[in-house]
């Protein structure tokens, strides 16, 4: 007979119930929960715009909304999803919650800065939401000049200010993680005993810290050009619009690695835990995260092959762009090899991990088409690109986030969710996703450009398929809200380690104490060792 598990008496969630104890907290776990709620709201807002887009695109004519409204839909969808959902998601929720316990620390190095970064995120969100309510913005999330500086008559400046401010939230999170990982590791927690989740966040933080300031200054330049009439990118005032693209993409390409690297970290944890086996090629996976971060900074102009850069420059950037594919491939192969002679089970987090593997592989492989110069000329700015990045951002990053959420939910809340409904949701997301985005590769190669409100009739069938898939995808995302909320009250008590995973975070109670550990742990074993987990927890079935 197993002892009935109970929610511990004292934990971080009941350590103070007032609003002030939450809004003025320095506890990284409470901050993570507040981020979770905030980005979830943003996700569904961005999703609403996506619904608007797919509804319009179900018919070839622009008959659902006006062209201006549609242009605002895709712009707001992009701005919210990139800056207010994807970039914070895993780092601000899972990273914030888990990095201190994973390294044996009580908190991040700078808890107050962590809180400030949350406030900054909220303030940035307020500016952007204001811009939406005040009539929206229609420049595309890429804000290309001169349209954004002089052509558009929508709320560019408030949106730009919101993004600028939110960027500092990202920078401070990255700064905090870097210092924490360097200086707060428990005794015996050497670099090569760190979970790969931590390596991934370290690499992500490097990108956040080095790349985000560049988009910040680019936004400043755009802002002074638009608001004060300075000339920097406007040809009518002697400027070069292509310079904007260079500066913008210098950040925004590494930004996509901010979005995917943490998910790659989650993936390592899931694959290892649910095959009860150490990650194959640990150091290679760890270094590949760093390699992706570094190479990610030298490929930006692959977004500009047809923007008027020289043939020579295009060749250089194409060559370098292939380099960034290799570390990603190495990871995929290492995860696959991890499964060999494993002891595999398919709880929901593993379903997400499998889905991630397939979709990230496809997304990454389609990047090869885009890096290939001769092809990119044809597919640039078509739905082929849209499909590529959604495979990585949604099929990769969001599935990584969902997998991580399902994996660590018991740790964060002390409760298990319904395994049945979570599996249904995972499958709906996988199927819906593919039906939504695979046809977009086809219609993109056919020539359908991006950001089109109406399109020639012959593209309709593929667009209808895509819109149909989006319905299933949306339902798949809505379901977790229900069963997660339900689990908070009615879910089975999880106990400290329901998955029998390795990792210091599973040594804590669920939900954890505010100070994480009663005594600082001392680490004397290698990562991902399951023999000890089995031997210590025989009492759990």
């Amino acid at each position: 007979m197993l002892d009935k598990l109970k929610i511990p008496e004292r934990h971080y969630l009941n350590n103070g119930h007032s609003l002030a104890s939450w809004l003025l907290t320095k506890d990284h776990k409470r901050i993570a929960i507040m981020y979770l709620i905030s980005i979830s709201v943003m996700f569904f807002l961005g999703g609403l715009f996506a619904i608007g887009i797919r509804l319009e695109l179900a018919t070839p004519q622009g008959d659902f909304v006006t062209a201006d409204t549609y242009n605002k839909f895709f712009t707001m969808h992009g701005v919210i999803m990139v800056f207010f959902f994807l970039i914070p998601s895993i780092p601000a929720v899972l990273g914030n919650f888990l990095i201190p316990p994973m390294i044996g620390a009580k908190d991040l190095a700078f808890p107050r800065i962590n809180l400030i970064s949350l406030y900054i995120y909220w303030i940035g969100g307020v500016f952007t939401l204001y811009a939406m309510i005040a009539g929206g913005v229609d420049t595309g999330w890429t804000f290309y000049t001169p349209y954004s500086a002089t052509g558009s008559n929508t709320n560019v400046v408030p949106t730009a200010v919101g993004v600028f401010i939110a960027g500092f939230s990202s920078i401070l999170t990255g700064l905090n993680f870097i210092v924490t990982i360097h200086r707060m590791r428990a005794p015996g927690m050497t670099w090569f005993r760190l979970p790969l989740f931590v390596w991934a966040h370290y690499a992500t933080s490097l990108v956040q810290v080095l790349g985000t300031p560049v988009v910040a200054i680019t936004i400043v330049m755009l802002g002074v050009e638009r608001a004060l009439g300075f000339g920097i990118f406007d040809p009518a005032r002697g400027g070069d619009p292509v310079l904007f693209q260079h500066l913008f993409w210098f950040y925004s390409h590494p930004a996509v690695y901010i979005m995917i690297l943490p998910a790659l970290g989650v993936q390592s944890e899931l694959v290892s835990t649910f095959s009860r086996k150490t990650i194959f090629g640990y150091s290679f996976v760890a270094f590949s995260s760093l390699a992706i971060a570094v190479f990610g900074f030298i490929v930006w102009a692959h977004h500009m092959f047809v923007a008027g850069i020289s043939t020579y420059a295009a060749m250089v950037f194409s060559f370098l762009s292939f380099s960034v594919a290799i570390p990603s491939a190495v990871k995929v192969f290492n995860w696959t090899a991890t499964l060999y002679k494993g002891a595999i089970s398919f709880e929901t987090p593993m379903l997400y991990a499998y889905g991630f593997l397939g979709l990230f592989a496809i997304g990454g492989l389609t990047g090869l088409f885009l890096a290939t110069l001769g092809l990119d000329v044809h597919v640039h700015d078509t739905y082929f690109v849209v499909a590529h990045f959604h495979y990585i951002m949604v099929g990769g990053a969001i599935m990584g986030y969902m997998g991580g959420l399902h994996f660590w939910w018991p740790k964060m809340t002390g409760r298990m969710y319904s395994e049945f409904f979570s599996r249904v949701s995972a499958i709906m997301v996988f199927v819906g996703f593919n039906v939504t985005f695979f046809p977009q590769f086809v219609v993109g190669y056919l020539g359908m450009p991006r950001r089109y409100h109406s399109y020639p009739d012959e593209f309709q069938v593929l667009n209808v398929m895509s819109s149909a898939g989006a319905t299933v995808l949306g339902l798949g995302y809505a379901l977790p809200v229900l069963y997660f909320l339900w689990s908070l009250r009615y879910g089975a008590v999880a106990g400290p380690n329901p998955w029998r995973a390795s990792g210091l975070e599973w040594q804590m109670q669920s939900p954890p104490l505010t100070e994480n550990f009663v005594e600082t742990p001392i680490v004397d074993t290698e990562p991902y060792e399951y023999e000890h987990v089995v031997s210590r927890e025989k009492h759990l079935v």
Binding site: L108, R193, L210, A216, V224, P521, I522, V523
Partner: protein, 253 residues
């Protein structure tokens, strides 16, 4: 990571005698200080990238529009720029002295040096006000009736003969108007951003001064003074780059 959680009691041992400034998530003052130092350097790295974007834009246009940039640069007064450079370098010296004072627990000296640093910072900002006023007067602010007419006219060169040392410009007035406007857009953005950082620095110094006066620092703990010093030195270094880039274009004649 399955391991035996050994009951280490590092925190317990130090608890009886820890410095009041030791935050509870750190084990020792040394660890706390190291974290602060790494944190501040990482932050300064982000500032380098922040200004770096502007510098990159400036360099691109300077290469493309060199002659116009040289002309525009010559309209700036070297006197004020050099004075500001000296003022800032001096303020870095006073700042270093303030850190030294905090390190040696000399409260009054520290406060005096900090106040001196802030004063020098204000002098810098005052000079910038003078310079900006002059630019406004000459309509050299882009977007606000910008009109390029050089503030300092060399005697018009005879056709085909360059004024001594100056290459004869082959730009039309329209081109000059556009290109110098780019220069001034960047000039105001770069110096404006720098001035903003100065203002933040002065604000930071006033907080540090107040904390020093309140007796918050001693030999074991003066990290905020030191970190603010780092920030101040950084703002100084940015100006060291701005001055030659903006003021000293083709001045060798």
């Amino acid at each position: 990571m399955s391991n035996a959680v050994v009951h280490a009691d590092i925190h317990g041992q130090a608890h009886a005698a820890h410095h009041p400034a030791l935050r509870h998530h750190f084990d020792t003052m040394g660890q706390q200080k190291e974290a602060a130092v790494i944190g501040m350097w990482v932050f300064l790295l982000t500032e380098i990238l922040f200004f770096g974007g502007l510098f990159a834009a400036y360099m691109v246009y300077r290469v493309w529009y060199f002659d116009a940039f040289a002309e525009a640069s010559r309209s700036l007064e070297i006197f004020w720029g050099a004075l500001n450079t000296a003022v800032l370098i001096g303020s870095s010296l006073t700042m270093a002295m303030a850190v030294r004072g905090a390190q040696t627990n000399k409260r009054t000296a520290t406060i005096n040096w900090l106040i001196l640093t802030m004063l020098l910072g204000c002098v810098f900002l005052g000079v910038k006000v003078i310079e900006y006023a002059e630019k406004i007067e000459h309509h050299h602010v882009p977007g606000f009736n910008y009109q390029w007419a050089p503030a300092h006219e060399a005697a018009p060169a005879a056709e085909g003969v360059a004024a001594e040392g100056h290459r004869k410009l082959s730009l039309t007035p329209e081109q000059l108007q556009l290109m110098t406007q780019i220069y001034f857009s960047l000039y105001f953005t770069m110096t404006g951003l720098h001035a903003l950082h100065m203002i933040v620095g002065i604000g930071l110094m006033s907080v540090i001064t107040w904390m020093t006066w309140k007796g918050k620092f001693d030999r074991e703990y003066y990290t905020p003074v030191e970190m603010s010093g780092l920030y101040w030195h950084f703002v100084d270094i940015v100006w060291i780059f701005l001055f030659p880039l903006l003021y000293l274009v083709e001045r060798h004649t």
